[in-house]
C-alpha cells in the first residue's frame, strides 16, 4: 500500500540574470540535467551567500529555497541544518509563518529518517501555529501529515478522526485537490484496514474522482487504483483486482514518475493472478517487482514480495524455495521492526515448515499480543459522523442562508415601504404647508382688498364731507345770506307788501331748517349699510362676478346681521369661501342661477351659496382642494360647512358661524 511522497520542487524557476549570482546559483542547483554533486556545490555556495545576508523575510525565503534544493538531492543532513538555521531566524524575528514552515520542513526530515515521534512532534508544533494564524490550508496539510503518522503508528481511529478534520478545514478552500485526494485515499486505506470494505471502496472512488485534478506526475490515480485492487483482493475478487491493477499500470509515465508504485502494482498483479490460479506470467511478474524494490531498497515492499513468492512456491510444492523466501522475509521484518509484516511471515513460516509450526505459532501470538490490536468494532465513528453531520449542517446553513436572504428581501421591501411612506408623508406635509401659505397669501390679498376698500371709503367719506361742506357753505349759507339781506332791505319798508314778503322769507328759513336736517342725517347715516366695508366688498365682488359668471346671481343680506360683531378673520374667510365657491361654479357647475345669502338664524351667521348646476358626487370630490380649502376656512373660524349635492341637482353650500367666533 502506498500513501504519498514528499516533493519540494514546486517553486517557479525564474530565468537567470547574470548579475544576480544568488539567483543563478539557486537556478543551477535546481537544474534537473545537472549532476547531483554539482547541484550540491551550487547550493552550498548559495547558502554561503545567504548566510551573510541580513535576517529579513527575503533572506528566510532564500533559506527555504536552499533547504528545498538539499531535500531534492537527498542531502538530508544539509537540509536539516538549513532548516534548523531558518527556524532560529524565524524565532528571532517572531516570524510565525516562517517558523511553522520550518517545523514542517523538520517534520519532513524526521519523516524521511523514519523518526516518526520527532516528525509527529514538529508537525504538531506547526499545527498549533497554523491554528493560531487561522491558515486553514496549511493546517489541513499539517493535519494530513499527522493522519499519516497516526496511520503508520496503527492509530486507525485517531487517523480517521484527523482525516475528517482535514476535510473540514479544506471545505471552501479551492486548489486544495492534492490534500483532499490524499485525505480520501487515506480514508479508503483506513476503512479497508477496519474491514469496512464498502466505505473503503466509496472513499477510493471519491479519491479517484479528485485524482484527475492532481498533477499527473504524482500518479495519484495509479496509487488509488492499486489500493482499490488490494481491497478487491481482500474480498477475494481477483478479477476486479486484476482489472484495476492493469488500468493502474497503463498510467502514463508511471514507472518514471513513481517506480515504487509501479513495482507494487506488478507484485500485486502477480499475487492476484496467483490467487486466481492464473500462473501464466508467474513467477516472473514477482521477480520484476522484486528487482525494482531491491534496487530502491523498499524494505516493506521486499518483505511483501518475498512473502508472495513464498506462498507461490508453497503452492508449487517447492518447499525449499518457499521456506527460503519466508525466512528471508521474516528476517527482514524482524531486523526492520516491521512487526505487522513479521506476523505475516510467521503465518507463512508455520505453513511452509509444519514441523516448526508450533514454535512459530507461539512467537506469532506473543508478537501479536505485544502489538496493539485494534478493536475493529470499537472504532470511533464519531469523526465520520461529525463529518456527515457537518454536511447536514451545511445544508441547514444553506437553508438558513436562504431564509436570511428572504429576511433581507423582506427587510428591503419594508425599508423601501418606509421610505415611500416618509417621502409621501413629507410631500403631504409640504402640500399642507403650501396650502397654509396660499391661504395666508389669499388672506393678505383680502386684507389688501379691505384696505383698498377702506381707502375708497375714506375717499367717499371725504368727498361726502366736502359735498356737505359745500352744501352748507354755498347753499345754506348763501341762502341765509340772501334771506338776511332781503330781510334787511324789507326792514326799511313798512307797507303791506313788505309784510307779506317777509312772510315768504320766513318760509324760506323753514326750508333751510329742513335742508340742514337732511345734511345732518347724511352725516349720521355714514356708519350704516352703505359704508359697511365687508358688505361693500361682497357687493363689489358679486358685481364683478355678474360680468364673468354665466349664471344669474342674486344676493341678499339679512339686515339683522351685526357685522361689527363678526371678527375680521371670519369675514376674510367668508369672502375667500365665496371666491372659492364662485371659482367652482364658473369652472364646473354650468348653473343658470346662483343665490348668495347671508342669513342670521338663532345664534348663527350663515352664508349659503346655492346653484342649480350639474352638482357632483360628494364622496368622490370631498378631498378636492376647493372643498378642503372652504372647509378649513370655516373650521378656522369655529364654524362648520354643510354640502348638499347630487349629480344633476345643483349644489348647496352652507357655512355656519356661531355668534361668538373664535378670535384669530
Amino acid at each position: 500500500m502506498f500513501l504519498i511522497s514528499c516533493s519540494k520542487s514546486s517553486e517557479i524557476i525564474k530565468p537567470s540574470t547574470p548579475k544576480d549570482s544568488l539567483e543563478v546559483l539557486l537556478d543551477l542547483a535546481n537544474t534537473d540535467s545537472l549532476d547531483v554533486n554539482l547541484k550540491l556545490q551550487y547550493n552550498k555556495k548559495a547558502l554561503k551567500i545567504i548566510s551573510l545576508q541580513k535576517n529579513d523575510s527575503l533572506n528566510r525565503v532564500n533559506y527555504f529555497k536552499v533547504a528545498n534544493r538539499f531535500y531534492n538531492i537527498n542531502a538530508l543532513n544539509e537540509y536539516k541544518f538549513v532548516t534548523q538555521a531558518v527556524i532560529k531566524k524565524a524565532i528571532n524575528t517572531n516570524d510565525s509563518i516562517s517558523l511553522s514552515k520550518g517545523y514542517d520542513y523538520l517534520a519532513d526530515y524526521f519523516s524521511a529518517q523514519f523518526e516518526i515521534d520527532s516528525a509527529y512532534k514538529y508537525n504538531s508544533k506547526s499545527e498549533k501555529i497554523y491554528i493560531r494564524l487561522n491558515d486553514k490550508y496549511k493546517l489541513a496539510k499539517t493535519l494530513l501529515n499527522k493522519a499519516i503518522f497516526q496511520h503508520n503508528a496503527n492509530d486507525l481511529i485517531g487517523c480517521e478522526k484527523t482525516v475528517f478534520l482535514v476535510l473540514q478545514h479544506l471545505r471552501g478552500i479551492s486548489e486544495s485537490e492534492e490534500i483532499r485526494y490524499q485525505a480520501y485515499n487515506l480514508l479508503g486505506i483506513i476503512y479497508g484496514e477496519l474491514t469496512e470494505y464498502n466505505l473503503s471502496e466509496k472513499y477510493y472512488q471519491e479519491a479517484l474522482k479528485i485524482a484527475v485534478k492532481v498533477p499527473s506526475e504524482y500518479q495519484s490515480t495509479a496509487t488509488t487504483l492499486n489500493n482499490l485492487g488490494i481491497l478487491y483482493r481482500k474480498q477475494n475478487n481477483d478479477d476486479l483486482a486484476i482489472r484495476v491493477y492493469t488500468k493502474a499500470l497503463s498510467q502514463k509515465n508511471l514507472f518514471f514518475d513513481r517506480p515504487i508504485i509501479y513495482a507494487m502494482l506488478k507484485d500485486n498483479l502477480a499475487y492476484s493472478n496467483f490467487k486466481k490460479g492464473d500462473f501464466s506470467k508467474l513467477p516472473n511478474l514477482f521477480f520484476e517487482s522484486l528487482k525494482i524494490r531491491d534496487s530502491l531498497k523498499i524494505v516493506s515492499g521486499i518483505i511483501i514480495n518475498k512473502i508472495h513468492l513464498g506462498e507461490y512456491y508453497l503452492s508449487k510444492k517447492d518447499s525449499t524455495k518457499a521456506r527460503k523466501y519466508a525466512l528471508e522475509a521474516y528476517d527482514l521484518a524482524q531486523s526492520n521492526g516491521e512487526k505487522t509484516q513479521a506476523l505475516e511471515t510467521l503465518k507463512l513460516l508455520s505453513r511452509v515448515n509444519p514441523i516448526k509450526a508450533l514454535s512459530y505459532s507461539e512467537i506469532y501470538y506473543s508478537l501479536s499480543d505485544s502489538l496493539q490490536i485494534i478493536d475493529n468494532k470499537a472504532r470511533n465513528k464519531f469523526a465520520r459522523i461529525e463529518f456527515e453531520t457537518e454536511e447536514l449542517t451545511l445544508e441547514k446553513d444553506k437553508l438558513v442562508e436562504q431564509r436570511k436572504t428572504l429576511i433581507y428581501i423582506g427587510l428591503g421591501i419594508i425599508l423601501i415601504g418606509v421610505f415611500i411612506f416618509v417621502i409621501r408623508f413629507q410631500a403631504a406635509k409640504n402640500r399642507e404647508l403650501m396650502l397654509v401659505q396660499e391661504q395666508q397669501k389669499a388672506n393678505e390679498e383680502i386684507y389688501q382688498l379691505m384696505l383698498n376698500q377702506n381707502n375708497k371709503i375714506e375717499e367717499v367719506r371725504q368727498s361726502e364731507k366736502k359735498r356737505i361742506a359745500q352744501e352748507l357753505h354755498d347753499g345754506i349759507l348763501g341762502k341765509l345770506f340772501g334771506t338776511r339781506m332781503n330781510l334787511g332791505v324789507l326792514n326799511s319798508k313798512k307797507d303791506d307788501l313788505a309784510i307779506s314778503e317777509r312772510g315768504s322769507y320766513i318760509d324760506e328759513l323753514k326750508t333751510l331748517e329742513q335742508e340742514i336736517r337732511e345734511i345732518s342725517h347724511d352725516l349720521s347715516s355714514e356708519k350704516t349699510a352703505v359704508f359697511n366695508n365687508f358688505v361693500l366688498m361682497v357687493t363689489n365682488f358679486l358685481e364683478t362676478q355678474k360680468k364673468v359668471c354665466k349664471a344669474q346671481i342674486t344676493f341678499s343680506i339679512d339686515p339683522k346681521i351685526e357685522w361689527n360683531a363678526i371678527d375680521n378673520m371670519a369675514k376674510i374667510n367668508f369672502y375667500r369661501i365665496l371666491q372659492e365657491a364662485f371659482q367652482n361654479i364658473n369652472k364646473y357647475a354650468n348653473a343658470k342661477n346662483v343665490a348668495v345669502k347671508f342669513l342670521q338664524t338663532d345664534n348663527k351667521t350663515a352664508l349659503s351659496i346655492q346653484d342649480d348646476g350639474v352638482g357632483f358626487i360628494f364622496q368622490r370630490k370631498k378631498k378636492g382642494i376647493g372643498l378642503l380649502n372652504m372647509n378649513s376656512r370655516i373650521i378656522n373660524s369655529g364654524g362648520e360647512m354643510h354640502i348638499e349635492t347630487e349629480p344633476g341637482k345643483g349644489t348647496l353650500l352652507k357655512f355656519e358661524l356661531p355668534q361668538t367666533p373664535i378670535q384669530t
Binding site: 341762502k479 340772501g482 338776511r484 326799511s492
Partner: protein, 154 residues
C-alpha cells in the same frame, strides 16, 4: 338827467341777486339809474360779458359759482380776469363766503378788484356804502378783509 350805471351781478342764488337788486334800488335813486344784468353761473356770466353790446360799469362777482369748464371758467376770479380783458374800465367787486386771508391776498394781487367783500360782513347799509365808494373810484374792502390785510401787513 340821471346817470346810467350798467351793473352785472353773478351769483348762483337767486335770493342774493334779488337782495342786491332790492338794496341798490335804494341807492341815490335821484342821481343814478342802475340797470341790472343777472347771471346765475359762470356760463351765464361769460355769455353776458362776451355778448354784451355795452360795457358794464360795475360787476358784482360771487367767487363760488357753478363753473363753465368749456371756457375754462372755474369761478368768479376767471370771470373777473375776462372782464379786465374785455372791459378794462369796469369796476369789479368780488364777493365771497370764504374768509381765508391767503385767498384775499391772491385776489387782491391778481385781479386788483375795486371791492373785496366777505358776505358775512355785508348788510343792507354796508352794501350801499360799498357801492357808493366803488362807483366813485374808491377801493372798498369789507371789515373782515381789512382786518386780514392788516394782519398780513403787520
Amino acid at each position: 338827467m340821471k346817470k346810467k350805471i350798467q351793473l352785472l351781478m353773478v351769483d348762483d342764488h337767486p335770493f342774493i341777486l334779488q337782495a342786491y337788486k332790492n338794496t341798490l334800488e335804494r341807492f341815490k335813486p335821484d342821481e343814478y339809474d342802475i340797470i341790472n344784468t343777472d347771471a346765475d353761473s359762470a356760463k351765464a356770466g361769460y355769455e353776458a360779458i362776451v355778448t354784451s353790446t355795452f360795457e358794464f360799469d360795475v360787476a358784482f362777482l360771487d367767487i363760488s359759482i357753478p363753473n363753465y369748464p368749456e371756457k375754462n371758467i372755474e369761478s368768479g376770479i376767471d370771470l373777473a380776469l375776462l372782464l379786465r380783458e374785455k372791459m378794462p374800465n369796469c369796476k369789479i367787486v368780488l364777493l365771497t363766503m370764504h374768509n381765508e386771508k391767503l385767498k384775499f391776498k391772491y385776489f387782491a394781487d391778481t385781479i386788483q378788484p375795486n371791492g373785496l367783500v366777505v358776505k358775512n360782513d355785508l348788510t343792507f347799509e354796508e352794501l350801499l356804502i360799498a357801492f357808493g365808494k366803488v362807483i366813485t373810484g374808491e377801493i372798498y374792502y369789507s371789515e373782515t378783509v381789512l382786518k386780514m390785510m392788516q394782519e398780513e401787513n403787520a
